[in-house]
Symmetry: C2
Subunit: 191 residues, 2 copies
């Protein structure tokens, strides 16, 4: 698959076939993601892989409850559409994905967000190259219950940066609308 094809295939996928993703393929994708650049080649990304639907539902419920709690306490401001969606018991933030990859790392790493985002892009492209679909689901990141965090193997001093859902897409939707690149300035030799 060429890069042009990959650019078309890497879409936000929120509707998946019932088919499970073999762990071997997840491991291949994570292996490739280690090739992502990181600040000073520090490689701070760690992973938790969940392909149990009951656990995925519990993670969705935990994240939804925390988001709604934060919103009620005015710690965050969610737009009303999100609130309605999160209040719906049947809404799973991970949609029907058969697998969720949590990308996490030590809070002490200053570049953690960008390092994990770069790894996430490798994972999303690596999945697309294997005809898998992904979506970075930020709504699924609010996991605080110590019991659940322990179940995921995430230490107290770690932070969840990117929950990525993974599965075989029912369809590849067209790209949502994009604006042209906004180039603020070009400074060229010839000025």
């Amino acid at each position: 698959m060429t890069f042009s094809e990959l650019l078309q295939k890497r879409r936000a996928i929120r509707d998946f076939e019932e088919k499970e993703v073999p762990l071997k393929i997840v491991e291949e994708i994570l292996q490739e993601s280690t090739l992502a650049p990181s600040a000073s080649n520090n490689q701070p990304c760690r992973f938790a892989v969940v392909s149990c639907r009951k656990t995925i539902k519990a993670l969705s419920d935990e994240s939804k409850a925390n988001l709604l709690g934060d919103h009620a306490e005015k710690k965050i401001r969610l737009n009303p559409d999100y609130v309605t969606m999160l209040q719906n018991e049947n809404f799973n933030v991970f949609y029907n994905a058969p697998c969720v990859i949590y990308i996490v790392g030590a809070k002490s790493v200053g570049s953690l967000d960008v390092d994990c985002a770069l790894a996430a892009s490798y994972i999303m492209f690596g999945a697309a190259a294997r005809d898998l679909g992904t979506c970075w689901v930020a709504l699924g990141a609010n996991i605080r219950d110590p019991r659940i965090r322990a179940e995921l193997g995430i230490p107290d001093n770690y932070r969840i940066v990117a929950p990525i859902i993974l599965g075989y897409p029912k369809a590849i939707p067209p790209a949502s609308e994009r604006h042209a690149p906004e180039i603020l300035r070009v400074i060229s030799e010839a000025r």
Copy 2:
């Protein structure tokens, strides 16, 4: 070029041919980068493109002076090797790259770091797909002089996330050493 080939070609490049990068190719790469995902499809990334060597040198000098100043005032702690390097007048943080792309965006965007990092990965892969080399040079991000920021077209309420150098590589070095992916936990249906 397949994704496997891209994974091999996307290396941190710090040694470039004298050859300039045509602006048309930079624009193509930035156009592709708009396909990167962003939180709520907000598309907050903006760009400044510098392909004037005199300006690139001035940007390097500005960033070095600010980093050394912050270090002297104990606002940041640089490791001694970096200090020595930054104190060397002949050291250009952008190496000999003929082009620097600044990825910037509004400070008010909560997801700016990860949105710009995802766009950066598209730019780095898009460059590799065209036999160009890149490197995210965090040392080049410390541009504060209002005159220089105005020259780059960067408004006061914007933040520089990623300076990416771009050019034709003299060689594609092997990947620096990577550890195996650290998978903290796998939770599968079969438990």
